[in-house]
């Protein structure tokens, strides 16, 4: 039997610029007790699809054609009240942001009791049921957890609680919109396993939206690929990913950095003909005399945070004694889950964070002990790129001013700023017309390029890139990595590349350092780390990073 059936669905939005067709003749079915995945990049119409099913389209959106049938009921003709009665008990949803899904001022137990408001059961019985659900998602000591508040749980636990809440009323359909995107690789695997287990237990169907191909491949029975508001391909997951028939699917699979199992200097992009790609071998590092002075030398670096109210301050070790050398032109990948201290270490190397112990020297200068004035030239030599491509650009400044900012800060005279900006933009593959745009008018990939242009503006010797591909579509990740690889070869840059995505760092880093609880648990050449990981944590991380779905490559 089919739980959800969508036929020829077309949705359009009336905007100032005219009618925008967000969905064009979308058709697919979600069979009973199955998990169907929807893959697509940002802007492909995934969110519009979900909102159409839930009856939550924005005011300017209309369903032009087609039908949405859920358990035999035609949803497009239901009124608001009937739709409200369906949402929650019959169709429930889990979203990307676990913080946003839970009400911060109500205890978890209270929120779970509220969900059961339609039932006549006693409060005690409702709490019992809530506790059972929390137990099912492996929240330790579920009875006690009911009286706790959302902020007392970690991100992964919050997402599990959100799943428990969504499935508590035993809905017929769960809509999961990128539920694991905000989680670390290790947590992602745990959450996916749990979701699958509960789905079988509850006996519901799941519509699972993700841009992560590996996740879809692991979880879903069937998959539909969306592109520009259309379903370009659908079928059994193995079949679609194993032998894709549509050009877009083939390209998408090939572009996923996780699908390139051989290290390559250049990754395929959406512009390449599918199948035409050949890996570009990574040159081995040139031999250097043993006594070469490293560019960056970190010895026993320690960072301690002091938190909590006055007089009861607690010390928290962010980085606990890390040492490594980085030579000119070399790239090191810092890998680990969130909270492992990667970002803190990087910030300390750029002196955005004070050290509580150890030394950091850059070209022999002690970074941790320089006066603010002496630090100024160092700021030209070390450039940083931040995690959020758009959020790291000042929102009221135009791209032109943003790229010119380093020149202004360091009062560099005798440069034609307009020409220089255009040159930098063209180096990162953006036309001069971008100079007049504001950050919010850029896509994630474009904003990232602006960040790169600004980082290379003053010809730095070291770039510290914090999760430069996080939040980008798979198809754009490859382009950004190509750009970074290209620039660092041309400009002879050294780079610290921070990520939790091993598949990405593989193609960029010469060496990889695995960080766990503020320490390096393992460090070595990239090929060696992948081929023969020594530390258990490295192995765990490698197995948690879901490989791309097997495409015949």
């Amino acid at each position: 039997m089919t739980v959800l059936s969508i036929k020829d669905l077309s949705v359009s939005f009336a905007t100032e610029a005219g009618t925008f067709h967000a969905l064009k003749n979308v058709s697919f079915d979600v069979p009973e007790r199955s998990i169907v995945g929807i893959v697509g990049e940002s802007g492909s119409g995934k969110s519009t699809l979900i909102n159409s099913i839930l009856g939550l389209l924005a005011d300017n959106g209309t369903i032009d054609r087609g039908s949405i049938t859920f358990e035999g009921q035609e949803l497009t003709r239901l009124d608001a009240q009937a739709m409200r009665d369906l949402r929650g008990p019959r169709i429930s949803s889990v979203f990307q942001d676990p913080m946003g899904a839970l009400n911060p001022v109500l205890s978890v137990g209270r929120q779970m009791r509220n969900i059961q408001y339609r039932d006549d059961a006693s409060a005690a019985a409702k709490d019992k049921r809530s506790a059972d659900m929390l137990d099912a998602v492996r929240i330790p000591d579920p009875a006690a957890a009911l009286s706790r508040f959302p902020h007392e749980f970690s991100g992964g636990m919050k997402q599990r609680i959100a799943i428990a809440m969504a499935l508590m009323m035993r809905p017929g359909l769960l809509i999961a919109d990128e539920p694991t995107t905000a989680l670390d690789a290790t947590l992602e695997v745990v959450t996916l396993d749990l979701l699958k287990e509960l789905q079988e237990q509850v006996g519901c169907s799941v519509l699972f939206i993700s841009h992560h191909l590996g996740v879809i491949a692991k979880l879903c029975d069937e998959v539909a690929v969306m592109y520009h508001g259309e379903v370009v391909e659908r079928g059994a997951t193995d079949q679609v990913f194993g032998a894709p028939s549509h050009g877009y699917t083939r390209r998408l699979l090939e572009c996923d950095p996780a699908n390139q199992h051989v290290r390559t200097r250049r990754l395929p992009t959406m512009h390449d003909e599918p199948g035409s790609f050949t890996p570009v071998p990574v040159p081995s590092l040139p031999e250097r005399p043993a006594d070469t002075e490293p560019l960056l030398k970190i010895r026993d670096a320690e960072v301690t945070f002091r938190t909590g109210p006055m007089f009861r301050r607690k010390s928290l070790k962010g980085v606990g004694g890390v040492s490594f050398d980085l030579h000119a032109g070399e790239t090191i990948g810092l890998v680990g889950e969130s909270g492992s201290g990667k970002t803190t270490l990087a910030r300390a190397a750029a002196r955005l964070q004070a050290l509580s112990g150890g030394q950091i020297s850059f070209e022999g200068r002690p970074v941790h002990a320089l006066s603010p004035r002496a630090l100024q030239p160092l700021r030209r030599d070390i450039a940083m790129m931040f995690q959020d491509p758009i959020g790291s650009l000042s929102p009221r400044m135009k791209v032109g001013a943003l790229v010119a900012e380093p020149f202004r800060i360091h009062r560099i005279e005798g440069v034609n700023l307009r020409k220089e900006t255009e040159r930098l933009l063209s180096q990162v593959g953006l036309g001069p017309e971008f100079a007049d745009r504001f950050p919010h008018q850029l896509s994630g990939g474009q904003a990232r390029r602006v960040g790169v242009a600004r980082a290379i503006a003053l010809g730095p010797k070291l770039i510290i890139a914090d999760e430069p591909t996080a939040g980008l579509d798979v198809s754009v990740q490859g382009e950004v990595l190509n750009l970074l690889n290209d620039l660092r070869e041309r400009l002879g840059l050294a780079m610290i590349f921070i990520t939790h995505n091993l598949h990405v760092v593989r193609h960029v880093a010469d060496r990889i350092a695995v960080m766990y609880l503020g320490k390096f648990v393992e460090m070595g050449e990239t090929d060696r780390i992948f081929a023969a990981p020594e530390h258990d944590y490295t192995k765990k991380l490698l197995s948690a990073n879901l490989a791309g779905p097997g495409v015949s490559a």
Binding site: F13, T15, E16, F20, A350, L352, L375, Q376, R379, R380, I382, A383, M384, F386, Q387, D388, G391, S392, L393, S394, P395, R396, M397, K398, G400, A401, A404, E405, P406, R408, I409, H410, N416, L417, R418, T421, A435, D436, F438, H440, Q441, R454
Partner: protein, 287 residues
């Protein structure tokens, strides 16, 4: 800002304000009020201070467009000249409050914790005085004058303005684009000026333009109590109060004093709301 990369244009925001019906209406009102105050001498030939007992309580006519008051003074001339006082006090005091409020707010929001605590303590102390009490105390100390009015307005406004700037500065302090500026070597002054101020000033400008009528009311109130403008200098508040005592028989005096206050309030409120829409690029071009 050097002009090589992007030229900040004054005319573009103005054109966008004029494109909004409310904004155009607001600007029109503000321009009319400002213009009639600036050109008061040209528009009203009568002397606003000339007392003429024979012409007492005359209804509006071609000779006296808004009538005359209990001393036979021409109300049209008094309203226009009163506008000079009202608007210069309102604009001057608001501008001074803005500058001081922004500077203190940025310091409190971006500076060390102890300085923030000290400033907040000061703001709360000032806020705990009722406006009228504060005004009475200051006038007792320094004597009634326009300066006293301005000082009262600044003291009343600064804590609120500074708090708005402080809260928003704190929210932005740990934003990635601030850390990015820091990593490029930008000085604290530059971070505050280039990266924080443009992002926090919008709401304050709206609030300030909506506060202008409040300032006008403070000036009128203080003038009524004899703490502000001394007679015979004309002031809207004074005219309104003159009219109040005789509202039964000669309502046009209260209208002459009240109407400019209403029109100025509306003008600056509409202008303020349109300003917000124009200055926040994230609100435009959605979708």
């Amino acid at each position: 800002m050097s002009a090589t990369v992007s030229k900040p244009s004054f005319w573009r925001p103005l054109r966008r304000i004029l494109a909004e019906p409310l904004g155009a209406f607001g600007i029109a009102l503000v321009v009319v009020m400002l213009g009639s105050a600036i050109f008061a001498e040209l528009l009203a030939s009568a002397d606003p201070a000339r007392i003429s007992p024979r012409d007492r309580f005359q209804a509006p006519s071609w000779e006296h467009l808004l009538g005359t008051d209990h001393l036979g003074r021409d109300l049209f001339a008094r309203v226009l000249h009163g506008g000079q006082i009202a608007l210069s006090v309102a604009l001057g005091a608001t501008l001074a409050s803005l500058v001081i409020g922004i500077v203190l707010g940025l310091i409190a929001g971006f500076g060390p914790r102890w300085l923030d605590n000290l400033l907040i303590l000061m703001f709360d102390a000032i806020k705990s005085f009722p406006t009228v009490m504060l005004a009475l105390a200051l006038v007792t100390l320094f004597g009634p004058s326009l300066t006293a009015v301005v000082v009262v307005v600044v003291l009343v406004n600064v804590p609120g303005y500074a708090r708005i700037i402080r809260t928003q500065t704190m929210a932005l302090k740990s934003a990635e684009f601030i850390t990015a500026a820091e990593s490029m070597g930008a000085s604290t002054a530059r971070i505050l000026r280039m990266h924080i101020l443009p992002n926090v000033i919008g709401p304050l400008l709206i609030l300030a333009s909506m506060d202008i009528p409040v300032v006008i009311a403070i000036e009128a109130g203080m003038s009524f109590l004899g703490l502000g403008v001394r007679p015979p200098t004309p002031s809207w508040g004074a005219i309104l109060n003159d009219g109040f005592t005789a509202i039964r028989d000669t309502p046009w005096i209260a209208v002459a004093g009240g109407l400019p206050i209403i029109l100025t309030t509306l003008g600056f409120t509409f202008l303020g709301e349109t300003l917000r829409d124009v200055f926040d690029p994230r609100l435009k071009g959605r979708g």
